[in-house]
Symmetry: C2
Subunit: 327 residues, 2 copies
């Protein structure tokens, strides 16, 4: 690939060739991609997410490669939160004409590297020019066997609340970036800050935690994309229950406490309202799925009180409840 | 729904509620949508397309409802061009905050009305704010049974070239709009011009022509999205053949001749380079599928001549060859 050329100079064919070279798939290149099923009579699962530069990512903070990784992870988290296995991705890119082709290649390379451990491929897409830089990524997945999908409405009173992955790390990483102003200003000799920033810029999810939870009989699941309280509230509302989170189980760990000290932020805000960790959170009345930890209990919702909270922390109303808003 | 409010005023929940009200589906509303297959061991088919305001559509020309219809049709044309049946849609919207909520509702209503005759539903999506108005639509489809998908590389020497639908109508409609400057300036008392404009703004595809062609043993297929010569050239290149189009079969009809007279445009340009008709075009060495007409023959490619054209019109090089370019 020629260096230092823009997508406008590369044209549609050149830009698509750069993407396909960075994220190759034999399924790509026709009017639509045809996916062979690996499981007989599997149900299909699909979800889509948009990332807009300046709103969801900044190249001052994240490399194009990391943005590609993160875009895959947030889509695969949604597929996993149904208990399904991600199988394929479609990428639609809106880009200014003066965007370096290298940037688009790096985005595609991040997408490819993030998808590969899951056995998934980038199988198709579209590119078009406009003012904003926008990535619209669609993930497809497969739900094999007769067990139900892990929906939002399955939490029952007495079920344990469970989580697999970090909570609050992404928000902490963003506050670290904002505190120091740019990625390169974050102290290189502070591995904890570097880890939090890295988690914000390209969260790495453990492969297969969604299918494991479904196999172990989990009753509901979502991912921590908008904030712990906000996301658990959705499960609680849809299930008609109250979710009580155990204070000890989600208390800021030593990494978060360290970052809080450096930045002057309240680490509880990261834990309770910080999204984008894409940690799987859900409920079960069965055994604890591998790599999950208990973080609370499902209680009865006080239906006599119209203001009763759907989520409590150690029995009390959370000090922070807001979550990410797209509009 | 409250009148005259913007998406920013409605917020994320209000905007999603407006979309779901205009395009209801019981599959929508979880982390990802789960699709039950109607055919055992069906293969899944997926494709995505972006529409950007000012580049792919203008509200001066098209209503939001029509843009929704067109977005579905161009995606479903890709699904059909594989010989598959569309089953579901995902919609990601990037919108300025001051966009009337009514506009988003109308887009969704167009999507719903276009999808319904195919038995397909809008099953999920995402909304986010930015400067541009961008629709990213993903279509899923199903390929039942063991017959191969209708790929681009299946045309063989001696096969007939076939088409189902209008050719050149969308480009003629766009030139009519540009000639008169706006939709309402197009003469109301000229039903031919009105029909061409309507075809440009919201093409209506006949349901099921892709599956019919596959069942009838077609050998290759695509849709007329970038222009007849451009799209047939892709089949010819990928199949290693030359496609000769019959002059009589694609000659501008009386509607195109009328519009050409009114606007001073060359109707052959519409026929040969006008895309967005989303007419299915392909090849077959079997019987003519229902509602298709023959428009040419597949010839041997002159491999001794590196400049040999992949597409000829009545044995000659086309007078127009350019097609739509995204970048």
């Amino acid at each position: 690939m020629a260096r230092n050329i823009t997508v406008e100079q590369a044209g549609e064919a050149g830009t698509i060739a750069a993407i396909r070279s960075a994220a190759p798939s034999s399924l790509n290149g026709d009017d639509a991609a045809v996916l062979d099923s690996t499981t007989s009579n599997a149900r299909q699962v699909c979800t889509t997410d948009i990332l807009v530069r300046g709103r969801h990512f900044r190249f001052r903070y994240s490399s194009p490669y990391e943005v590609g990784v993160k875009a895959v992870m947030q889509n695969f988290a949604d597929i996993q939160a149904m208990g399904a296995r991600p199988t394929a991705l479609l990428l639609a890119i809106v880009t200014p004409g003066d965007m370096p082709l290298e940037t688009i290649s790096e985005l595609a390379r991040g997408i490819n590297d993030a998808a590969t451990p899951w056995g998934a491929e980038l199988v198709g897409g579209d590119v078009v020019r406009a003012e904003d830089l926008v990535l619209s990524l669609t993930a497809l997945g497969e739900l094999g066997g007769p067990a139900p999908a892990l929906t939002l409405d399955g939490a029952g009173v007495g079920h344990r609340v469970i989580a697999s992955g970090n909570i609050g790390y992404s928000a902490a990483g963003l506050d670290v970036l904002q505190y120091f102003g740019s990625r390169k200003s974050v102290p290189q000799d502070d591995p904890i800050l570097q880890e939090l920033v890295s988690w914000h810029c390209s969260p790495k999810l453990e492969v297969g935690r969604g299918t494991v939870a479904r196999a172990a009989g989990a009753s509901s699941m979502t991912d921590n994309s908008d904030g712990l309280v906000a996301d658990l509230s959705v499960i609680a509302q849809r299930s008609g229950v109250c979710i009580d989170v155990d204070v000890e189980a989600v208390a800021p760990d030593s990494n978060l406490l360290h970052a809080a000290e450096r930045t002057g932020c309240d680490p509880w805000k990261w834990v309770l309202t910080g999204g984008e960790d894409h940690t799987l959170i859900g409920t079960t009345d069965s055994r604890l799925p591998a790599s999950y930890r208990p973080i609370g209990m499902v209680r009865r919702l006080d239906e006599t009180d119209p203001d009763a909270p759907f989520v409590t922390i150690g029995g009390n109303r959370p000090t922070y409840t807001t979550g990410w808003q797209s509009l």
